[in-house]
Chain length 256, copies 2
């Protein structure tokens, strides 16, 4: 955690991403063109790159052509009831290892990765025409590859967060969370540390990777083509953290 | 939403807060002593002040002396089972208008305000000895008063977020969210706007007040006595937003 200032800057100039594109090369180029970065390079701190899942998925070819999808009866019935595209519903159900809620036109599933989210992360916004975009096959591996390539391209110490926009129960609106993490721990664990009066802090394990993802979202306009952000000044220890560790294990889950 | 850089700085030098303290005066003084602020003052943009609920509650006297609490049988049974202080459990149950889950040593309640959170926001960390701290009576009113007084003291355009640290289902670790909001809309609503290909974005209403609260947390060390942060460079339209609007209405809640 930083005790000074953190600066968050959107990375501009990243073009529309197509399958096979060199995403890390494009991010590295955008980083070079961003006036903010020299500050980080001058310091001995690393930087955090937050990348929207959407461009990671597109670069990795995680797309489904809707023309090739034959919807099941279940998908058709649901789609008819709520005026949705049965092929998209079919893709959502295929991404699900468990349907958590299917009610009032909302489909919340647990994806094969373990993420609980609306529509299993399947999204038509900013997708090539006739396609939907899936979540990356393994967001932690995506983050790890991006980190390796960005560190090689820039010579800087870099952590990477692959982020997506999720809803949550009880609170309206969406926030960004971390799907994949590389190069930092997703948590800061205060358990066992003392409060300002010297008494132990209880049950306080902050999901900093999610907070960094949310902070990055503040400069990543969905309508502006800014799919990545650089966060400078956040002090972190390089660590082999995983976004997967942010998923609450089944045995701790009170809301299955 | 900003298209440039956002800078987030912890406000230092705010002393331990006691009931009746002039919190806005102390924040205004810390703001004057923070080197970051001139940047914001030079621009025509406003700044966002994120304040930890804990200090707001303490300044407002939202404390309960545990010596004066007589636990109910229900609180005693639960406390015995999980080795907790029955008086604290009693206070939690008094703050609850509904118990959402009471299982595996975790008590998740809907508070009288409508927030769904562990222990109803009742917290012993950083509390005066023998006391627990409650959530503010009306966090939106708290934010509104702080905003009014901070604008008067600084002459700047200011939005205020009163934030707290909440858990969430399905994901491990805690993140900061906005309980009270003044001076900005808690949402950026992309519904009806077009993606980069000109197609309408669907169901995308970002809870930016929660994202700002999370961003602020990154510099507000729980062990460092930094109970507030200033966020510069986040473009927002002054608006009469309410943190209360972030609470999902009962009829939209699939997880009651």
């Amino acid at each position: 955690m930083s005790t000074g200032s953190i600066r968050i800057t959107g990375l501009r100039g990243i073009p529309e991403i197509k399958p096979g594109d060199d995403l890390s090369g494009l991010i590295a180029a955008a980083l070079r063109d961003t006036p903010a970065v020299p500050v980080a390079a001058e310091s001995d701190r690393g930087i955090v790159i937050v990348v929207a899942q959407k461009v990671v998925s597109k670069a990795e070819g995680c797309l489904v052509k809707l023309d090739e999808v034959v919807p099941s009866t279940r998908a058709q019935v649901w789609a008819n009831q709520y005026h949705k595209d049965a092929r998209v519903v079919e893709v959502v159900l295929r991404e699900a290892k468990r349907v958590v809620r299917m009610d009032r036109s909302v489909v919340i599933v647990e994806t094969r990765h373990g993420f609980v989210c609306a529509n299993g992360g399947v999204d038509a916004s900013n997708a090539p025409p006739g396609n939907v975009v899936l979540l990356p096959e393994d967001p932690d591996s995506s983050a790890r590859r991006l980190r390796r390539d960005l560190e090689a391209a820039t010579g800087m110490q870099i952590a990477v967060i692959v982020s997506d926009t999720f809803g949550r129960p009880w609170r309206r609106g969406l926030t960004n969370v971390a799907l994949g993490v590389a190069g930092l721990s997703p948590f800061i664990d205060y358990r066992g540390q003392a409060d300002t009066r010297g008494r132990p802090l209880q049950a306080t394990m902050m999901a900093v990777a999610d907070e960094l993802a949310s902070a990055g979202e503040l400069v990543m306009g969905k309508t502006l083509g800014i799919p990545a952000a650089v966060i400078e000044g956040f002090r972190f220890q390089p660590a082999e953290g995983l976004g997967r560790d942010l998923i609450r294990p089944e045995e701790e889950d009170l809301f299955r």
